[in-house]
């Protein structure tokens, strides 16, 4: 919540020589944050400084001129300035001897009322507010109306407790009863700004005896009892309701007025008296009003402020320094707390720990536990006055996810160096992108309150997002994208599986993409010739799928198969890969198995085979490379129509191979190729 405080208005409560700039600085350091100090030129031609102050939700007591002044006084005094709080007093209400109007009958049918104060004022003279009120309202960005409305806004801003003005005669004409109750659902009411609403049920409302809603208390007035230009008599009204109930009504009706935002945060009901006196004083002075009834005051549950006991050792533990008792007491007293110093009887007798027994003022309902008190001491002492140091002590010995982050970082760096652009895209996708994953909409998690149509589903696959980005950037013909992010797989009665995936999408040929993946696997020393290999198993794609072809990417070891992820070819020539990082993690290494160099001569030759369709060159190579121990490598070097040329390296670990030694191996290769793959050698051996 932000509040605007004109410097001149603040001066009615704060007496100090501190300049606006200093007030801004020290309030920000020890109290509410003064986000801006603006200079405002008013309609009257005057200039004023206006503080734009952010007040945290637990400090509704500072949502007023008086509240800020109180805070500023305490803070400035400790920042080396002399500051004094000016107490303003208004006369007690006296009924006008010639006026006597009956108060409406108020009936309580709910326990959610903490206080009601009301009084009838007659002989209202409708006119404009005096210039100083208009100026100040303008400075704090509140619209200027007529004097009656302006006064209630003005007093609310100055003292921080909302109040309301009813047209007294309308209330009386509607039966003269105010029944305070929780609404039944579906009841219609029209607010002051002529908006039609219906209750959802459970909001605290005022009804007349006929069951019509005549106010949405603590949130907004209704048209049927609001003042207009013919209003002669008013019922000035201050209510304090259960904060949860106020919030409920305000949220349910989506009416977020200043009144609601204050009332839902437990405004101190003890403020009501002051508000009543001040407002009536202004009504009398400006609108020539006369007090026409006794003051009504219903205050069933008068609570004193909270009592909190704080051990001095705890203060030291939080602050890391030992503040003198005198200083602690002085700070708390400056904050209107009553403080008594005793000894903690439960503590060690030799150490005689002091304890502070604190009674907080009623407007500080936020002070509940010792940590709250310590916060007050520390901030007023000044966080900026506390030393700053890093903690000593032991370090955690476990790093359960270190490997994951290490691998993730390496992948990102490696791929970006290989000309892949890293992307961060939204995890929330459109229905179209959701369907592109191959999963139905029903097998996606969906937001119940999305902000935009294109961000509704939690994605099952990252590739559709990358495809969209690729399409949005058509100019680059060899762009390649990758992203590491989670996908979200729904599970029954549980959180979704949220596994991290690496997705890669490229406009280049799929062999280049696969090649980069192989290089990546080599970075982690996963592939080992003839022992650990990357195998591709094609899977049938459904007709409706956007994939033209799909395959599983498998890491195959002698005794083990691990599905790493998938390779997809899309209709528009894009090639994509999606790898489950947790699976990759199972096979990564951070160093190789060093192989001693083989001194014996290699014999290298090329053989060309004609392979029949459908061809699986990968399987062909994987089979033949393993067909003899002396075949060290078997690589594809050229493809011409159906003819595939391979470079074969023969090498023995214990001797130099002769041409005669190679002869039978070659024979074996050729016959195995024919037998298993119907591959025909081109030429003769």
């Amino acid at each position: 919540m932000n509040i605007l405080i004109p410097h001149s208005w603040l001066g009615e409560y704060l007496s100090s020589k501190a300049r606006a700039k200093d007030i801004q600085k020290y309030l920000s350091l020890s109290g509410p944050s003064v986000e801006r100090l603006n200079t405002v030129k008013l309609a009257s031609g005057k200039k004023d400084y206006v503080y734009d102050i952010e007040v945290s939700t637990n400090r509704v007591d500072m949502m007023s001129i008086e509240g800020i002044a109180r805070e500023a006084t305490t803070i400035l005094n400790r920042a080396g300035y002399t500051a004094r709080m000016i107490k303003k007093n208004w006369p007690a209400l006296k009924q006008h001897p010639q006026r006597n109007l009956a108060l409406p009958e108020i009936i309580y049918e709910t326990e959610g009322v903490r206080r009601v104060m009301a009084v009838v004022l007659s002989d209202i003279s409708q006119q404009n507010s005096p210039q100083y009120i208009q100026d100040r309202l303008q400075a704090v960005a509140i619209n200027v109306h007529d004097a009656v409305v302006d006064i209630s806004n003005y007093v609310t801003h100055e003292l921080g407790h909302p109040c309301h003005v009813f047209d007294y005669d309308k209330i009386m004409q509607m039966g003269g009863k105010i029944i305070i109750k929780e609404a039944k659902p579906g009841k219609k009411f029209i607010t002051l700004d002529e908006e039609v609403h219906h209750t959802v049920g459970g909001e605290i409302v005022f009804e007349n005896s006929a069951g019509e809603i005549i106010d949405l208390p603590a949130v907004k007035g209704t048209l049927n009892t609001g003042i207009d230009q013919n209003t002669k008599n008013i019922l000035f009204w201050i209510e304090s309701l259960d904060a949860h109930k106020v919030r409920y009504a305000s949220m349910a009706q989506a009416i977020r007025t200043t009144a609601a935002q204050l009332n839902e945060k437990n405004v101190d009901p003890y403020l009501a008296e002051k508000v009543l006196r001040y407002a009536v004083y202004l009504f009398e002075k400006i609108a020539k009003a006369k007090v026409a009834s006794p003051v009504y005051d219903y205050f069933p549950d008068q609570k004193s402020g909270n009592k909190i006991i704080v051990n001095s050792q705890l203060i030291k533990d939080y602050l890391g320094i030992d503040l003198p008792k005198k200083e602690i007491t002085a700070i708390l007293r400056d904050l209107d707390c009553q403080v008594t110093l005793t000894k903690d009887k439960q503590a060690d007798k030799d150490r005689q720990v002091d304890q502070f027994v604190i009674l907080a003022p009623t407007y500080r309902a936020d002070l509940e536990i010792p940590a709250d008190i310590i916060e007050e001491i520390a901030r007023i002492y000044g966080y900026h006055n506390l030393p700053s140091q890093l903690m000593a002590g032991q370090l955690p010995s476990e790093h359960p996810q270190q490997k994951f982050f290490q691998v993730e970082s390496r992948i990102k760096n490696f791929l970006s160096h290989l000309a892949w652009q890293e992307i961060y895209s939204y995890s929330l996708v459109s229905d179209k992108e959701a369907l592109m994953s191959g999963y139905s909409l029903a097998s996606h998690l969906k937001l119940s309150n999305p902000l935009k149509e294109e961000n509704v589903y939690l994605r099952r696959s990252i590739l559709p997002s990358l495809i969209s980005i690729m399409h949005n950037n058509p100019q680059n013909h060899d762009w390649q994208l990758f992203e590491i992010a989670r996908t979200y797989q729904p599970q029954k009665n549980a959180l979704p599986k949220q596994d991290s995936y690496l997705a890669m999408l490229s406009r280049r040929n799929f062999r280049q993409v696969k090649g980069d993946l192989e290089l990546l696997l080599k970075q982690f020393f996963i592939l080992e010739k003839k022992v650990v290999e990357l195998v591709v198993e094609e899977i049938m794609t459904k007709n409706h799928s956007i994939y033209q072809q799909s395959a599983k990417l498998i890491i195959k070891k002698p005794q083990e198969r691990l599905v790493l992820g998938h390779l997809h070819l899309f209709e528009d020539g894009l090639a994509g890969i999606e790898i489950k990082l947790n699976n990759l993690l199972k096979v990564v290494n951070f160093y190789p198995h060093y192989q001693k160099s083989n001194q014996y001569a290699q014999i290298i030759e090329q053989l060309t085979f004609t392979l029949k369709k459908p061809v699986a060159v990968g399987d062909f190579i994987n089979t033949l490379i393993k067909s003899h121990k002396d075949i060290k490598d078997f690589t594809l070097v050229n493809v011409y129509q159906d003819n595939y040329t391979f470079a074969i390296i023969y090498q023995d670990n214990n001797k130099n191979l002769s041409t005669e030694d190679v002869e039978p191996i070659r024979q074996q290769v050729v016959s195995l190729a024919k037998k298993k793959f119907q591959a025909q050698l081109v030429g003769k051996i």
């Binding site: 944050s33 986000e35 801006r36 949860h244 520390a378 140091q389 992307i423 998690l445 902000l451 950037n473």
Partner: protein
């Protein structure tokens, strides 16, 4: 001289002969003459049959070494050959290999992780889609509490968990706090860092529906406010430069007490709050609030949160802090990004500048 020695000598002679013959013009030709299929070395190798098994092995090795030496000599000459032919214009522009780019968010995350790892923080991750309990309730924010308004929460259209509540997208990284306390099961110290995607229902030039936060949580005996200040100062200087100042101011979060807002000094107006416009008039700095940037929140872990995580708040204390990765990154001096939606635009022109 044994047959073996004879062959070895012949090999060495061949190499010597090659050295005599080689010049800058004939490297290609000699390669065929010595190393070709019917080259002199293969002819010599053909005589291997006359050797014993043991000698064959040694001779093979010897011959390989000579061939290797010869190959490298050839390569040297070929290089010189090339160099001698053309005078190179050394002012020609370099030819650059195409590279990709790490996303700026990744760059920021790597930097932040490194900074905190140096002081013993352990990086962890937790669910991005989590139960209300971990995101709010366990953090001292019961259902319908007004404090929740500040977190514009996305809800997942799923049945609520009987005890953990609704399924939500994490609005902050603080869901990791109680999860981490549960994970360590009383084993201290905790120095946890959680950097993760977060989601809030808002979108403008300083807010995106998805963004990243990083969170730090320290729990141990004898932890006090000074340590929180120390950690924040340390980060500010490491991340923004040694002249950066940081400060903590009072604020309110339900899950910390005391709570702070963390500010870093503005590098654009040098912490003054004013800059000069084109007419040299003093105007408010557009980038900060009176000389300071609010980057995030921090505080001493609330006793109720410690309790929810199974720790006795009388014995242990802790502090936590959390703020936006993008926000922190855009405060880097002279980076000049004023619209954080760019990070998630997938715009090539933007991305390739990083």
């Amino acid at each position: 001289m044994s047959a073996y020695q004879k062959l070895v000598t012949q090999g060495q002679d061949l190499f010597e002969q090659f050295l005599q013959e080689i010049n800058q013009q004939n490297a290609q030709e000699l390669a065929v003459k010595y190393l070709g299929k019917k080259g002199l070395f293969n002819q010599l190798a053909a005589q291997i049959k006359i050797l014993t098994k043991e000698e064959k092995k040694d001779f093979g090795r010897e011959l390989n070494q000579l061939k290797n030496k010869l190959e490298s000599k050839l390569a040297d000459y070929q290089k010189q050959d090339f160099a001698s032919q053309v005078h190179q214009d050394l002012t020609m522009p370099g030819i650059q290999t195409k590279v990709g780019h790490l996303h700026p968010v990744s760059q920021a995350i790597e930097e932040i992780s490194r900074i905190f790892e140096k002081i013993g923080f352990v990086r962890m991750s937790y669910p991005e889609v989590d139960w209300d309990y971990y995101v709010f309730a366990a953090l001292n924010m019961p259902t319908n509490h007004p404090a929740r308004d500040e977190w514009e929460t996305f809800f997942v259209d799923q049945k609520a968990h009987p005890s953990l509540g609704k399924m939500v997208l994490t609005t902050h990284t603080s869901n990791g706090q109680v999860r981490e306390m549960e994970r360590v099961k009383g084993q201290l110290p905790i120095r946890m860092m959680n950097i993760s995607r977060c989601y809030r229902r808002q979108s403008d030039n300083t807010h995106t529906q998805m963004f990243h936060q990083f969170e730090g949580l320290v729990i141990d005996k004898d932890i006090n406010i000074q340590h929180l200040k120390g950690t924040i100062d340390y980060f500010a200087k490491e991340f923004f430069g040694p002249k950066t100042k940081s400060r903590i101011r009072p604020f309110h979060f339900k899950f910390t007490e005391p709570s702070f807002e963390v500010d870093f000094s503005c590098h654009i107006c040098r912490g003054t709050g004013y800059i000069k416009d084109e007419h040299h008039h003093k105007i408010n700095c557009r980038f900060c609030k009176s000389g300071w940037h609010e980057v995030g929140g921090a505080g001493m872990v609330h006793p109720n949160v410690l309790k929810a995580g199974g720790f006795d708040s009388n014995k242990y204390r802790g502090f936590a802090f959390g703020w936006g990765v993008e926000r922190s990154y855009t405060l880097k001096q002279d980076l000049n990004i004023d619209d954080i939606r760019l990070f998630y635009s997938g715009n090539q022109e933007f991305l390739e500048q990083f």
